[in-house]
Amino acid sequence: MFVALRDLRHARGRFALMLVVITLITFLVTFLAALTAGLSRESTSAITDLPADHLAFAMPAPTDPPEFTASSVTADQWRAWAETPGVRSAEPLGVAMTRAESPATTASVTALGVAPGSAVLPGGSPNLAAGTVVLSAGAAQALSAGAGDTITLAGQELRVGAVRDAEVSFAHTPVVWTTLADWQSIGARGGDGADDRADAPDTVATVIALTLDSPATGAIATTDATAGTTTVTTTQARSAIGSFSAENGSLTTMQVFLLVISALVVGAFFTVWTISRAGEVAVLKALGASTGYLLRDAIGQAVVVLLLGVGAGTALAVAGAALLSDAVPVVVTPATTALPAVALIGLGLVGAALAIVRITRVDPHAALAAH
Protein backbone atom coordinates (compact mmCIF):
# COMPACT_ATOMS: atom_id res chain seq x y z
CA MET A 1 0.00 0.00 0.00
CA PHE A 2 2.91 2.32 -0.78
CA VAL A 3 0.86 4.56 -3.06
CA ALA A 4 -2.53 3.95 -1.41
CA LEU A 5 -1.56 5.27 2.01
CA ARG A 6 0.13 8.31 0.51
CA ASP A 7 -2.96 8.96 -1.60
CA LEU A 8 -5.06 8.87 1.56
CA ARG A 9 -2.82 11.44 3.21
CA HIS A 10 -2.54 13.59 0.10
CA ALA A 11 -6.24 13.72 -0.88
CA ARG A 12 -7.45 14.33 2.66
CA GLY A 13 -10.57 16.26 1.68
CA ARG A 14 -11.81 13.61 -0.70
CA PHE A 15 -11.25 10.77 1.73
CA ALA A 16 -12.67 12.78 4.64
CA LEU A 17 -15.88 13.12 2.62
CA MET A 18 -15.95 9.37 1.99
CA LEU A 19 -15.27 8.68 5.66
CA VAL A 20 -18.08 10.97 6.80
CA VAL A 21 -20.59 9.31 4.48
CA ILE A 22 -19.53 5.78 5.46
CA THR A 23 -19.59 6.80 9.14
CA LEU A 24 -23.13 8.17 8.82
CA ILE A 25 -24.37 5.11 6.93
CA THR A 26 -22.82 2.85 9.58
CA PHE A 27 -24.39 4.93 12.34
CA LEU A 28 -27.79 4.60 10.68
CA VAL A 29 -27.49 0.85 10.08
CA THR A 30 -26.10 0.09 13.54
CA PHE A 31 -28.50 2.33 15.43
CA LEU A 32 -31.39 0.88 13.45
CA ALA A 33 -30.19 -2.64 14.29
CA ALA A 34 -29.99 -1.71 17.99
CA LEU A 35 -33.44 -0.11 17.80
CA THR A 36 -34.90 -3.13 15.99
CA ALA A 37 -33.49 -5.43 18.64
CA GLY A 38 -34.72 -3.10 21.39
CA LEU A 39 -38.23 -2.88 19.98
CA SER A 40 -38.22 -6.62 19.37
CA ARG A 41 -37.21 -7.24 22.96
CA GLU A 42 -39.83 -4.83 24.27
CA SER A 43 -42.40 -6.70 22.22
CA THR A 44 -41.37 -10.27 22.96
CA SER A 45 -39.20 -10.58 26.08
CA ALA A 46 -42.12 -12.02 28.09
CA ILE A 47 -42.07 -14.94 25.66
CA THR A 48 -38.39 -15.28 24.69
CA ASP A 49 -37.26 -15.10 28.34
CA LEU A 50 -39.59 -17.88 29.43
CA PRO A 51 -37.80 -20.89 30.92
CA ALA A 52 -39.39 -23.02 28.21
CA ASP A 53 -38.50 -24.02 24.68
CA HIS A 54 -41.91 -24.47 23.06
CA LEU A 55 -45.41 -23.00 23.35
CA ALA A 56 -48.57 -24.92 22.54
CA PHE A 57 -51.41 -22.78 21.15
CA ALA A 58 -55.03 -23.82 20.80
CA MET A 59 -56.54 -21.87 17.94
CA PRO A 60 -60.24 -21.69 17.05
CA ALA A 61 -59.46 -23.62 13.85
CA PRO A 62 -56.49 -26.02 13.78
CA THR A 63 -55.22 -24.48 10.55
CA ASP A 64 -55.12 -20.93 11.95
CA PRO A 65 -51.61 -19.58 12.52
CA PRO A 66 -50.79 -19.20 16.21
CA GLU A 67 -51.92 -15.92 17.80
CA PHE A 68 -51.85 -14.97 21.44
CA THR A 69 -55.05 -12.96 21.05
CA ALA A 70 -57.02 -15.98 19.75
CA SER A 71 -55.49 -18.95 21.57
CA SER A 72 -57.22 -20.57 24.56
CA VAL A 73 -55.99 -23.83 26.02
CA THR A 74 -58.14 -26.12 28.12
CA ALA A 75 -57.34 -28.27 31.12
CA ASP A 76 -57.59 -31.37 28.93
CA GLN A 77 -55.03 -30.03 26.51
CA TRP A 78 -52.75 -29.08 29.41
CA ARG A 79 -53.05 -32.61 30.81
CA ALA A 80 -52.42 -34.15 27.39
CA TRP A 81 -49.15 -32.29 27.11
CA ALA A 82 -48.15 -32.89 30.75
CA GLU A 83 -48.59 -36.64 30.20
CA THR A 84 -46.66 -36.74 26.89
CA PRO A 85 -43.41 -38.72 27.22
CA GLY A 86 -40.37 -36.49 26.84
CA VAL A 87 -42.13 -33.41 28.22
CA ARG A 88 -40.20 -32.25 31.29
CA SER A 89 -42.67 -29.53 32.19
CA ALA A 90 -45.94 -28.20 30.85
CA GLU A 91 -47.06 -24.93 32.45
CA PRO A 92 -50.28 -23.14 31.58
CA LEU A 93 -49.65 -19.48 30.85
CA GLY A 94 -52.32 -16.84 30.62
CA VAL A 95 -51.53 -13.79 28.53
CA ALA A 96 -53.80 -10.75 28.52
CA MET A 97 -53.26 -7.07 27.92
CA THR A 98 -55.24 -4.90 30.29
CA ARG A 99 -55.28 -1.63 32.24
CA ALA A 100 -53.78 -1.34 35.69
CA GLU A 101 -54.43 1.43 38.19
CA SER A 102 -52.42 2.47 41.16
CA PRO A 103 -53.27 5.31 43.55
CA ALA A 104 -50.81 7.43 41.56
CA THR A 105 -51.52 6.58 37.92
CA THR A 106 -52.81 4.15 35.35
CA ALA A 107 -50.91 2.18 32.75
CA SER A 108 -51.37 -0.50 30.11
CA VAL A 109 -49.84 -3.79 31.25
CA THR A 110 -49.83 -7.40 30.20
CA ALA A 111 -51.03 -9.79 32.87
CA LEU A 112 -49.34 -13.17 32.80
CA GLY A 113 -51.28 -15.80 34.73
CA VAL A 114 -49.10 -18.60 36.10
CA ALA A 115 -49.90 -21.72 38.12
CA PRO A 116 -48.90 -21.77 41.81
CA GLY A 117 -45.30 -22.82 42.23
CA SER A 118 -44.62 -22.33 38.54
CA ALA A 119 -41.07 -21.78 37.36
CA VAL A 120 -42.40 -19.58 34.58
CA LEU A 121 -42.16 -16.51 36.83
CA PRO A 122 -38.56 -15.25 37.04
CA GLY A 123 -37.11 -16.14 40.43
CA GLY A 124 -39.96 -18.56 41.16
CA SER A 125 -43.26 -17.59 42.75
CA PRO A 126 -42.85 -17.52 46.55
CA ASN A 127 -44.43 -14.05 46.68
CA LEU A 128 -47.29 -14.90 44.37
CA ALA A 129 -50.46 -15.96 46.14
CA ALA A 130 -54.13 -15.50 45.46
CA GLY A 131 -55.01 -11.80 45.62
CA THR A 132 -51.44 -10.66 45.00
CA VAL A 133 -49.49 -9.55 41.97
CA VAL A 134 -45.76 -9.48 41.15
CA LEU A 135 -44.62 -6.49 39.11
CA SER A 136 -41.82 -6.34 36.59
CA ALA A 137 -39.46 -3.38 36.98
CA GLY A 138 -41.17 -1.62 34.07
CA ALA A 139 -44.64 -2.11 35.54
CA ALA A 140 -43.49 -0.86 38.96
CA GLN A 141 -42.08 2.25 37.31
CA ALA A 142 -45.12 2.82 35.10
CA LEU A 143 -47.51 2.47 38.06
CA SER A 144 -45.23 4.15 40.63
CA ALA A 145 -45.96 1.18 42.86
CA GLY A 146 -43.86 -1.06 45.09
CA ALA A 147 -44.19 -4.09 47.32
CA GLY A 148 -47.13 -3.73 49.75
CA ASP A 149 -49.06 -1.26 47.57
CA THR A 150 -52.43 -2.10 46.13
CA ILE A 151 -53.22 -1.87 42.45
CA THR A 152 -56.37 -2.52 40.50
CA LEU A 153 -56.19 -4.90 37.57
CA ALA A 154 -59.27 -4.89 35.33
CA GLY A 155 -61.34 -3.76 38.29
CA GLN A 156 -59.95 -6.29 40.76
CA GLU A 157 -57.83 -5.07 43.63
CA LEU A 158 -54.58 -6.96 44.11
CA ARG A 159 -51.76 -6.39 46.55
CA VAL A 160 -48.22 -6.08 45.17
CA GLY A 161 -46.34 -9.04 46.62
CA ALA A 162 -42.97 -8.24 45.09
CA VAL A 163 -41.17 -6.33 42.34
CA ARG A 164 -38.80 -8.24 40.08
CA ASP A 165 -35.67 -6.58 38.67
CA ALA A 166 -36.35 -8.22 35.32
CA GLU A 167 -37.32 -5.92 32.42
CA VAL A 168 -40.03 -8.10 30.93
CA SER A 169 -42.62 -6.83 28.50
CA PHE A 170 -45.12 -8.03 25.94
CA ALA A 171 -46.25 -5.99 22.91
CA HIS A 172 -44.55 -2.91 24.38
CA THR A 173 -46.38 -3.12 27.71
CA PRO A 174 -44.72 -4.08 31.00
CA VAL A 175 -45.64 -7.41 32.55
CA VAL A 176 -47.36 -8.19 35.84
CA TRP A 177 -47.70 -11.74 37.11
CA THR A 178 -50.83 -13.04 38.81
CA THR A 179 -51.96 -16.47 39.84
CA LEU A 180 -53.77 -18.33 37.10
CA ALA A 181 -56.98 -18.13 39.16
CA ASP A 182 -56.73 -14.35 39.51
CA TRP A 183 -55.81 -14.06 35.81
CA GLN A 184 -58.98 -16.00 34.97
CA SER A 185 -61.05 -13.89 37.31
CA ILE A 186 -59.90 -10.57 35.85
CA GLY A 187 -61.37 -11.83 32.65
CA ALA A 188 -58.34 -12.43 30.54
CA ARG A 189 -59.52 -10.98 27.25
CA GLY A 190 -63.22 -10.61 28.14
CA GLY A 191 -63.05 -9.14 31.60
CA ASP A 192 -66.08 -11.16 32.74
CA GLY A 193 -64.14 -13.99 34.31
CA ALA A 194 -65.08 -16.58 31.71
CA ASP A 195 -64.09 -17.46 28.23
CA ASP A 196 -66.75 -16.26 25.83
CA ARG A 197 -66.28 -19.20 23.46
CA ALA A 198 -69.07 -21.69 23.97
CA ASP A 199 -66.95 -24.57 22.80
CA ALA A 200 -64.24 -23.91 25.40
CA PRO A 201 -65.98 -23.69 28.80
CA ASP A 202 -62.97 -24.94 30.73
CA THR A 203 -60.37 -22.55 29.35
CA VAL A 204 -57.45 -22.32 31.81
CA ALA A 205 -54.88 -20.24 29.96
CA THR A 206 -53.72 -18.77 26.66
CA VAL A 207 -50.89 -21.19 25.89
CA ILE A 208 -48.95 -24.07 27.46
CA ALA A 209 -45.25 -23.41 28.05
CA LEU A 210 -43.36 -26.62 27.34
CA THR A 211 -39.89 -27.78 28.20
CA LEU A 212 -39.07 -30.87 26.18
CA ASP A 213 -36.31 -33.35 26.90
CA SER A 214 -35.82 -34.07 23.24
CA PRO A 215 -37.81 -31.81 20.97
CA ALA A 216 -38.61 -34.52 18.46
CA THR A 217 -40.80 -33.15 15.71
CA GLY A 218 -42.72 -36.42 15.50
CA ALA A 219 -43.78 -36.42 19.17
CA ILE A 220 -44.84 -32.76 18.94
CA ALA A 221 -46.90 -33.44 15.84
CA THR A 222 -48.57 -36.47 17.44
CA THR A 223 -49.60 -34.62 20.60
CA ASP A 224 -50.67 -31.58 18.60
CA ALA A 225 -52.93 -33.84 16.54
CA THR A 226 -54.50 -35.58 19.54
CA ALA A 227 -54.79 -32.48 21.77
CA GLY A 228 -55.81 -30.08 19.02
CA THR A 229 -52.94 -27.70 19.63
CA THR A 230 -50.31 -26.00 17.47
CA THR A 231 -46.83 -26.08 18.97
CA VAL A 232 -43.99 -23.78 17.99
CA THR A 233 -40.67 -22.78 19.54
CA THR A 234 -40.57 -19.71 21.74
CA THR A 235 -38.61 -17.95 19.00
CA GLN A 236 -41.27 -18.80 16.41
CA ALA A 237 -43.94 -17.74 18.91
CA ARG A 238 -42.79 -14.13 18.52
CA SER A 239 -44.70 -14.08 15.26
CA ALA A 240 -47.88 -14.84 17.21
CA ILE A 241 -47.64 -11.31 18.62
CA GLY A 242 -49.38 -9.25 15.94
CA SER A 243 -47.46 -6.02 16.47
CA PHE A 244 -44.09 -7.79 16.40
CA SER A 245 -44.46 -9.22 12.90
CA ALA A 246 -45.39 -5.90 11.28
CA GLU A 247 -42.86 -3.86 13.24
CA ASN A 248 -39.97 -6.28 12.79
CA GLY A 249 -40.71 -6.74 9.11
CA SER A 250 -40.61 -2.98 8.48
CA LEU A 251 -37.41 -2.40 10.44
CA THR A 252 -35.61 -5.39 8.91
CA THR A 253 -36.57 -4.19 5.43
CA MET A 254 -35.10 -0.77 6.25
CA GLN A 255 -31.88 -2.40 7.43
CA VAL A 256 -31.56 -4.50 4.29
CA PHE A 257 -32.16 -1.46 2.08
CA LEU A 258 -29.59 0.54 4.05
CA LEU A 259 -27.02 -2.23 3.60
CA VAL A 260 -27.68 -2.40 -0.14
CA ILE A 261 -27.53 1.40 -0.42
CA SER A 262 -24.27 1.48 1.53
CA ALA A 263 -22.72 -1.06 -0.87
CA LEU A 264 -23.87 1.03 -3.83
CA VAL A 265 -22.57 4.27 -2.29
CA VAL A 266 -19.17 2.77 -1.46
CA GLY A 267 -19.06 1.20 -4.93
CA ALA A 268 -19.93 4.56 -6.51
CA PHE A 269 -17.25 6.33 -4.47
CA PHE A 270 -14.57 3.91 -5.56
CA THR A 271 -15.82 3.93 -9.17
CA VAL A 272 -15.34 7.70 -9.32
CA TRP A 273 -12.03 7.43 -7.49
CA THR A 274 -10.78 4.68 -9.80
CA ILE A 275 -11.81 6.58 -12.93
CA SER A 276 -10.02 9.69 -11.68
CA ARG A 277 -6.94 7.55 -11.03
CA ALA A 278 -6.79 6.10 -14.56
CA GLY A 279 -3.79 8.24 -15.47
CA GLU A 280 -1.92 7.30 -12.32
CA VAL A 281 -2.73 3.61 -12.80
CA ALA A 282 -1.43 3.83 -16.39
CA VAL A 283 1.85 5.34 -15.13
CA LEU A 284 2.20 2.62 -12.51
CA LYS A 285 1.55 -0.08 -15.11
CA ALA A 286 4.04 1.54 -17.48
CA LEU A 287 6.61 1.60 -14.67
CA GLY A 288 6.14 -2.12 -14.17
CA ALA A 289 3.39 -2.50 -11.56
CA SER A 290 1.60 -5.82 -11.98
CA THR A 291 -2.18 -5.98 -12.01
CA GLY A 292 -2.03 -7.86 -8.70
CA TYR A 293 0.03 -5.07 -7.14
CA LEU A 294 -2.45 -2.44 -8.33
CA LEU A 295 -5.45 -4.41 -7.09
CA ARG A 296 -3.85 -5.03 -3.69
CA ASP A 297 -3.04 -1.34 -3.42
CA ALA A 298 -6.57 -0.23 -4.34
CA ILE A 299 -8.34 -2.87 -2.22
CA GLY A 300 -6.05 -1.99 0.69
CA GLN A 301 -7.10 1.61 0.31
CA ALA A 302 -10.77 0.59 0.37
CA VAL A 303 -10.20 -1.57 3.45
CA VAL A 304 -8.58 1.34 5.32
CA VAL A 305 -11.40 3.72 4.40
CA LEU A 306 -14.08 1.17 5.30
CA LEU A 307 -12.44 0.18 8.60
CA LEU A 308 -12.09 3.81 9.67
CA GLY A 309 -15.58 4.80 8.52
CA VAL A 310 -17.37 1.73 9.87
CA GLY A 311 -15.37 1.87 13.12
CA ALA A 312 -16.28 5.50 13.69
CA GLY A 313 -19.92 4.89 12.75
CA THR A 314 -20.20 1.90 15.09
CA ALA A 315 -18.61 3.83 17.97
CA LEU A 316 -20.99 6.71 17.32
CA ALA A 317 -24.00 4.38 17.29
CA VAL A 318 -22.92 2.66 20.52
CA ALA A 319 -22.41 6.05 22.19
CA GLY A 320 -25.77 7.27 20.88
CA ALA A 321 -27.51 4.13 22.11
CA ALA A 322 -25.94 4.53 25.54
CA LEU A 323 -27.05 8.17 25.74
CA LEU A 324 -30.59 7.47 24.53
CA SER A 325 -31.18 4.16 26.28
CA ASP A 326 -33.66 5.75 28.71
CA ALA A 327 -35.63 7.39 25.92
CA VAL A 328 -35.72 4.67 23.26
CA PRO A 329 -35.57 0.88 23.49
CA VAL A 330 -32.13 -0.07 22.16
CA VAL A 331 -30.14 -3.24 22.62
CA VAL A 332 -26.36 -3.03 22.12
CA THR A 333 -24.92 -6.51 21.60
CA PRO A 334 -22.39 -8.02 19.19
CA ALA A 335 -25.35 -8.97 17.01
CA THR A 336 -26.49 -5.35 16.71
CA THR A 337 -23.01 -3.79 16.37
CA ALA A 338 -20.37 -6.23 15.11
CA LEU A 339 -22.72 -7.97 12.67
CA PRO A 340 -23.82 -4.78 10.84
CA ALA A 341 -20.18 -3.61 10.85
CA VAL A 342 -18.97 -6.84 9.27
CA ALA A 343 -21.83 -6.74 6.75
CA LEU A 344 -21.04 -3.12 5.84
CA ILE A 345 -17.34 -3.84 5.40
CA GLY A 346 -18.11 -6.96 3.37
CA LEU A 347 -20.67 -5.28 1.12
CA GLY A 348 -18.51 -2.16 0.85
CA LEU A 349 -15.60 -4.26 -0.30
CA VAL A 350 -17.79 -5.98 -2.88
CA GLY A 351 -18.85 -2.54 -4.17
CA ALA A 352 -15.25 -1.30 -4.16
CA ALA A 353 -13.93 -4.48 -5.81
CA LEU A 354 -16.44 -4.17 -8.65
CA ALA A 355 -15.23 -0.61 -9.21
CA ILE A 356 -11.54 -1.33 -8.79
CA VAL A 357 -11.57 -4.24 -11.22
CA ARG A 358 -11.54 -1.54 -13.94
CA ILE A 359 -7.86 -1.20 -13.09
CA THR A 360 -7.16 -4.51 -14.77
CA ARG A 361 -8.51 -3.10 -18.05
CA VAL A 362 -6.37 0.07 -18.12
CA ASP A 363 -4.12 0.05 -21.21
CA PRO A 364 -1.05 2.03 -20.14
CA HIS A 365 -0.13 3.10 -23.69
CA ALA A 366 -3.61 4.35 -24.57
CA ALA A 367 -4.12 5.97 -21.14
CA LEU A 368 -0.75 7.76 -21.26
CA ALA A 369 -1.45 8.95 -24.79
CA ALA A 370 -4.80 10.37 -23.66
CA HIS A 371 -3.39 11.83 -20.47
Binding site: F2, V3, G279, E280, A286, L287, G288, H371
Partner: protein, 231 residues
Protein backbone atom coordinates in the same frame (compact mmCIF):
# COMPACT_ATOMS: atom_id res chain seq x y z
CA UNK B 1 23.42 -4.93 -23.13
CA UNK B 2 22.46 -3.67 -26.56
CA UNK B 3 18.87 -2.91 -27.53
CA UNK B 4 17.76 -4.48 -30.82
CA UNK B 5 14.57 -3.56 -32.63
CA UNK B 6 14.32 -6.22 -35.35
CA UNK B 7 11.99 -5.49 -38.26
CA UNK B 8 9.27 -3.96 -36.09
CA UNK B 9 5.89 -3.42 -37.70
CA UNK B 10 2.92 -2.03 -35.78
CA UNK B 11 -0.51 -1.90 -37.38
CA UNK B 12 -3.53 -0.33 -35.66
CA UNK B 13 -7.15 -0.91 -36.61
CA UNK B 14 -8.52 2.32 -38.09
CA UNK B 15 -12.25 2.09 -38.64
CA UNK B 16 -12.86 -0.47 -41.36
CA UNK B 17 -9.22 -0.40 -42.45
CA UNK B 18 -5.84 -0.39 -40.72
CA UNK B 19 -3.11 2.16 -40.07
CA UNK B 20 0.56 1.19 -40.20
CA UNK B 21 2.27 3.23 -37.50
CA UNK B 22 5.64 1.48 -37.74
CA UNK B 23 6.71 -0.25 -40.93
CA UNK B 24 9.52 -2.83 -40.88
CA UNK B 25 11.78 -0.72 -38.68
CA UNK B 26 15.12 -2.03 -37.42
CA UNK B 27 17.59 -0.38 -35.08
CA UNK B 28 20.38 -1.42 -32.75
CA UNK B 29 21.53 0.77 -29.88
CA UNK B 30 24.74 -0.32 -28.15
CA UNK B 31 24.80 -0.22 -24.37
CA UNK B 32 26.10 3.01 -22.90
CA UNK B 33 25.11 5.06 -25.96
CA UNK B 34 22.23 7.37 -26.70
CA UNK B 35 20.41 7.42 -30.01
CA UNK B 36 17.92 10.13 -30.90
CA UNK B 37 14.86 9.25 -32.96
CA UNK B 38 13.72 12.30 -34.89
CA UNK B 39 10.68 12.85 -37.01
CA UNK B 40 7.58 14.97 -37.43
CA UNK B 41 4.38 14.42 -35.47
CA UNK B 42 2.60 11.26 -36.58
CA UNK B 43 5.73 9.69 -38.00
CA UNK B 44 5.47 6.73 -35.59
CA UNK B 45 8.24 7.68 -33.11
CA UNK B 46 6.15 7.28 -29.96
CA UNK B 47 4.58 4.09 -31.31
CA UNK B 48 8.03 2.62 -31.85
CA UNK B 49 9.02 3.68 -28.34
CA UNK B 50 5.88 1.99 -26.96
CA UNK B 51 6.89 -1.23 -28.74
CA UNK B 52 10.46 -0.94 -27.45
CA UNK B 53 9.09 -0.55 -23.90
CA UNK B 54 6.61 -3.41 -24.15
CA UNK B 55 3.65 -1.05 -23.74
CA UNK B 56 2.31 -2.25 -27.10
CA UNK B 57 2.93 -5.60 -28.75
CA UNK B 58 4.38 -5.39 -32.25
CA UNK B 59 2.33 -6.77 -35.11
CA UNK B 60 5.52 -8.37 -36.35
CA UNK B 61 9.21 -8.22 -35.46
CA UNK B 62 10.84 -8.61 -32.06
CA UNK B 63 12.56 -6.53 -29.41
CA UNK B 64 15.75 -7.99 -27.98
CA UNK B 65 17.85 -6.91 -25.03
CA UNK B 66 21.23 -8.52 -25.47
CA UNK B 67 20.45 -11.90 -26.97
CA UNK B 68 17.05 -12.33 -25.31
CA UNK B 69 13.79 -11.69 -27.13
CA UNK B 70 11.78 -9.67 -24.60
CA UNK B 71 8.80 -8.46 -26.65
CA UNK B 72 7.24 -10.24 -29.60
CA UNK B 73 3.79 -10.56 -31.20
CA UNK B 74 1.49 -12.52 -28.87
CA UNK B 75 3.75 -12.06 -25.87
CA UNK B 76 2.17 -12.14 -22.38
CA UNK B 77 1.30 -8.89 -20.62
CA UNK B 78 2.57 -10.08 -17.24
CA UNK B 79 5.95 -11.04 -18.70
CA UNK B 80 6.18 -7.68 -20.50
CA UNK B 81 5.39 -5.86 -17.25
CA UNK B 82 8.09 -7.80 -15.41
CA UNK B 83 10.64 -7.09 -18.16
CA UNK B 84 9.80 -3.40 -18.02
CA UNK B 85 10.27 -3.40 -14.25
CA UNK B 86 13.55 -5.31 -14.31
CA UNK B 87 15.30 -4.04 -17.43
CA UNK B 88 13.73 -0.87 -18.82
CA UNK B 89 13.46 2.71 -17.59
CA UNK B 90 10.93 4.97 -19.28
CA UNK B 91 10.73 8.77 -19.23
CA UNK B 92 7.38 9.93 -20.57
CA UNK B 93 6.68 13.06 -22.56
CA UNK B 94 5.03 14.64 -19.52
CA UNK B 95 6.87 13.77 -16.29
CA UNK B 96 3.87 11.66 -15.12
CA UNK B 97 4.89 11.83 -11.49
CA UNK B 98 2.42 10.56 -8.88
CA UNK B 99 0.87 13.57 -7.15
CA UNK B 100 0.89 12.08 -3.65
CA UNK B 101 4.56 11.02 -3.63
CA UNK B 102 7.59 13.16 -2.84
CA UNK B 103 10.52 13.23 -5.27
CA UNK B 104 12.35 10.65 -3.14
CA UNK B 105 9.27 8.43 -2.92
CA UNK B 106 8.86 8.51 -6.72
CA UNK B 107 12.22 6.73 -6.86
CA UNK B 108 11.60 4.46 -3.84
CA UNK B 109 8.40 3.26 -5.53
CA UNK B 110 10.55 1.21 -7.90
CA UNK B 111 11.84 -0.90 -5.03
CA UNK B 112 8.31 -1.38 -3.70
CA UNK B 113 7.10 -2.53 -7.13
CA UNK B 114 9.84 -5.15 -7.03
CA UNK B 115 8.69 -6.35 -3.62
CA UNK B 116 11.59 -4.77 -1.75
CA UNK B 117 11.53 -2.32 1.12
CA UNK B 118 11.78 1.26 -0.20
CA UNK B 119 14.57 1.95 2.26
CA UNK B 120 16.82 -0.48 0.37
CA UNK B 121 17.17 1.98 -2.52
CA UNK B 122 17.11 5.19 -0.48
CA UNK B 123 20.86 5.81 -0.75
CA UNK B 124 20.85 5.16 -4.50
CA UNK B 125 17.75 7.31 -4.92
CA UNK B 126 19.32 10.20 -3.05
CA UNK B 127 22.49 9.83 -5.15
CA UNK B 128 20.43 9.97 -8.35
CA UNK B 129 18.51 13.00 -7.13
CA UNK B 130 21.87 14.61 -6.40
CA UNK B 131 23.01 13.68 -9.95
CA UNK B 132 20.03 15.51 -11.42
CA UNK B 133 20.58 18.44 -9.05
CA UNK B 134 17.57 17.87 -6.82
CA UNK B 135 19.04 16.55 -3.56
CA UNK B 136 17.56 19.50 -1.69
CA UNK B 137 14.11 18.93 -3.25
CA UNK B 138 13.85 15.26 -2.25
CA UNK B 139 10.91 15.74 0.08
CA UNK B 140 8.82 17.94 -2.15
CA UNK B 141 5.78 16.75 -4.05
CA UNK B 142 5.39 17.37 -7.82
CA UNK B 143 3.11 20.36 -7.25
CA UNK B 144 5.94 22.05 -5.35
CA UNK B 145 8.47 21.57 -8.20
CA UNK B 146 8.97 23.45 -11.47
CA UNK B 147 8.41 21.77 -14.86
CA UNK B 148 12.14 21.24 -15.37
CA UNK B 149 12.56 19.82 -11.88
CA UNK B 150 9.69 17.42 -12.44
CA UNK B 151 11.29 16.24 -15.69
CA UNK B 152 14.59 15.64 -13.87
CA UNK B 153 12.81 13.65 -11.15
CA UNK B 154 11.22 11.55 -13.92
CA UNK B 155 14.68 10.89 -15.38
CA UNK B 156 16.04 9.87 -11.98
CA UNK B 157 13.01 7.60 -11.46
CA UNK B 158 13.66 5.88 -14.78
CA UNK B 159 17.26 5.19 -13.76
CA UNK B 160 16.76 4.03 -10.17
CA UNK B 161 16.49 0.37 -11.12
CA UNK B 162 19.78 0.55 -13.05
CA UNK B 163 17.98 -0.41 -16.28
CA UNK B 164 19.72 -1.93 -19.26
CA UNK B 165 17.56 0.15 -21.57
CA UNK B 166 16.38 3.74 -21.14
CA UNK B 167 13.52 5.01 -23.31
CA UNK B 168 12.81 8.74 -23.32
CA UNK B 169 9.79 10.26 -25.05
CA UNK B 170 10.01 13.93 -26.06
CA UNK B 171 11.72 15.04 -22.82
CA UNK B 172 12.18 18.64 -23.98
CA UNK B 173 8.76 19.37 -25.45
CA UNK B 174 7.72 21.57 -22.52
CA UNK B 175 11.12 23.18 -21.93
CA UNK B 176 12.93 26.11 -23.49
CA UNK B 177 16.00 25.46 -25.64
CA UNK B 178 18.59 25.94 -22.90
CA UNK B 179 16.80 23.68 -20.42
CA UNK B 180 16.04 21.16 -23.14
CA UNK B 181 19.71 20.95 -24.07
CA UNK B 182 20.64 20.48 -20.39
CA UNK B 183 18.13 17.66 -20.04
CA UNK B 184 19.46 15.82 -23.12
CA UNK B 185 23.03 16.26 -21.86
CA UNK B 186 21.98 14.89 -18.47
CA UNK B 187 20.30 11.85 -20.06
CA UNK B 188 23.30 11.18 -22.29
CA UNK B 189 25.74 11.44 -19.39
CA UNK B 190 23.72 9.23 -17.04
CA UNK B 191 23.08 6.64 -19.76
CA UNK B 192 26.80 6.48 -20.38
CA UNK B 193 27.59 6.21 -16.64
CA UNK B 194 24.99 3.49 -16.11
CA UNK B 195 25.87 1.70 -19.38
CA UNK B 196 22.25 1.83 -20.56
CA UNK B 197 21.23 1.62 -24.21
CA UNK B 198 19.19 4.80 -24.57
CA UNK B 199 16.62 5.83 -27.17
CA UNK B 200 15.43 9.45 -27.07
CA UNK B 201 12.42 10.40 -29.15
CA UNK B 202 12.39 14.05 -30.14
CA UNK B 203 11.10 16.42 -32.78
CA UNK B 204 13.71 19.10 -31.99
CA UNK B 205 17.20 18.34 -33.31
CA UNK B 206 18.64 21.57 -31.88
CA UNK B 207 18.88 20.12 -28.38
CA UNK B 208 20.51 16.85 -29.43
CA UNK B 209 24.14 17.90 -29.67
CA UNK B 210 25.23 15.47 -26.98
CA UNK B 211 23.68 12.25 -28.35
CA UNK B 212 25.76 9.52 -29.98
CA UNK B 213 23.63 9.04 -33.05
CA UNK B 214 20.43 10.13 -34.75
CA UNK B 215 17.78 8.23 -36.69
CA UNK B 216 15.05 9.91 -38.69
CA UNK B 217 11.63 8.42 -39.06
CA UNK B 218 8.93 9.31 -41.56
CA UNK B 219 5.59 7.63 -42.07
CA UNK B 220 6.64 4.73 -39.89
CA UNK B 221 9.79 3.97 -41.82
CA UNK B 222 13.42 4.63 -41.08
CA UNK B 223 14.66 7.49 -43.21
CA UNK B 224 18.30 8.04 -42.43
CA UNK B 225 20.81 6.68 -39.99
CA UNK B 226 23.71 8.72 -38.80
CA UNK B 227 26.18 6.13 -37.53
CA UNK B 228 26.41 5.65 -33.80
CA UNK B 229 29.77 6.70 -32.45
CA UNK B 230 31.35 6.51 -29.06
CA UNK B 231 32.34 9.60 -27.11
Amino acid sequence: MDLHLDRITLVYPDGDSTLTAVDDFSLTIPSGTTTALLGPSGSGKSSLLAVAGGLTRPTSGVVRIGGDVVFAPGGGLAAATRTRLDQIGIVFQAPQLLASLTALEQLELHAHLRGRRPATVRAQAMALLAEVGLADQAHKRPAQLSGGQRQRVAIARALVGSPRVLLVDEPTSALDHARGTQIIELITRLAHELDAATLVVSHDSSTLGSVDGTVRMLDGRRELLLPVHAD
